[in-house]
Symmetry: C2
Subunit: 272 residues, 2 copies
Amino acid sequence: MAEIVTVEDPEDPRLHDYTDLTDVELRRRREPAEGLFIAEGEKVIRRAGEAGYAMRSMLLSAKWVEPMRDVIDALTVPVYVVDPELAERVTGYHVHRGALASMRRKPLPAAADLLRGARRVVVMEAVNDHTNIGAIFRSAAALGMDAVLLSPDCADPLYRRSVKVSMGAVFSVPYARLERWPGSLAAVTEAGFDLLALTPDAGARSLDEAAPHRRDRVALMLGAEGDGLSRRALAAADEPVRIPMSHGVDSLNVGAAAAVAFYAVTAGRPRD
Amino acid sequence: MAEIVTVEDPEDPRLHDYTDLTDVELRRRREPAEGLFIAEGEKVIRRAGEAGYAMRSMLLSAKWVEPMRDVIDALTVPVYVVDPELAERVTGYHVHRGALASMRRKPLPAAADLLRGARRVVVMEAVNDHTNIGAIFRSAAALGMDAVLLSPDCADPLYRRSVKVSMGAVFSVPYARLERWPGSLAAVTEAGFDLLALTPDAGARSLDEAAPHRRDRVALMLGAEGDGLSRRALAAADEPVRIPMSHGVDSLNVGAAAAVAFYAVTAGRPRD
């Protein structure tokens, strides 16, 4: 059973994992370097544990001790109980979900290992908005994509905001980071995948016509909101595909576009 | 050509259309009662005009006069040029898009008239979040839905935030408000539509299997994020349908779910 420690000093060094959570630039550097990430709220904390992430510590307001009792009983790491005001002073914001956990990162799998067992893969280029990356993971998980590959400049899926927006889906869909861009994409096509590049370009074949759900192995590549895929990424793909558009609209938002494309490549396939 | 008026007094009664824009409750009552809505930013203002909405007036910072010159030249209503600080005092926020227009509402069409010419209809129940309603309109327009029907308690698609999130798609897809709920749904099925209710219920047929894109006339009914459709709405539908889910995820966000469902009912159909 975990040791429950009441902390009253905001400078207490044991709270170091939770300091300055609103400083995105700082946390973006610190968290990977220190091998941790922050899970926020009961649901997400439970999902991280179920997905096999080990906890470093937990920070709770007193009223969350009972709802989290079973989690606490199974822990051997410290649980810090603090006032909401102290939580705010340490983290920099009002922690209205009342519970934070510092989790240990796991080594990422190699892209080649993910590709071996997968049939439906998402490839993201330069998606560096934490909300978008979280939303895309949520849809990828829900709609049955098997794995995600990230270009070197994509944002961190384990950043607090990504984890929260994904509702913990970043724990369920395995992902890897590609080392060279777009060079590493060769491994995707060599593994037998049709690498389809999603583009708003009206000259591309529509997803209806490309019928990706009838293909054996499909990797679907997405770019960031606004810019879309780079020319180099498009050139590395087997084929550009587009979502057919009506009413003179030129694009969907990236979350909606990703969800539609995931459905188009998975529709009619068996689900787990 | 429009009269360009420099205004320096935030109390100037000619700016009344633009006061207290951040007071959602107030604006929600005032705008329909006064027959106006606010379009924000160059793109949305142009789209409102192209969709046949008449302008009451425009409020610009000086640097927007040149980019909007062609619009101004075609107007006969006043254009108020103000300092950014004054714009902020009047509206209650920093108008970073630099241009606002007060537009005249048009009478809404009758649901029966919309149903007559449509093949693909969205029905929304109690979607009262302005961001969600805007996102759903954007996807409905992009993916080729012909019309939208709103339950009496849905939010206003012409509220500033909805218009903005929709990128003006609320101007392109015609919509009507149903008077009785769920009584008015009878008109949908009587008009020959298969009324499909989108639900997370695992017992419903999946969209893959229901193959709505092969049906002649489909009305797709969506509920609000969280609550989903009411029991009464579900009972009025011909058939519940669900988006198949994987990885233990229980739902998509309402915007992603709507986009997937619109794609599923329109895929392979001719686009305009």
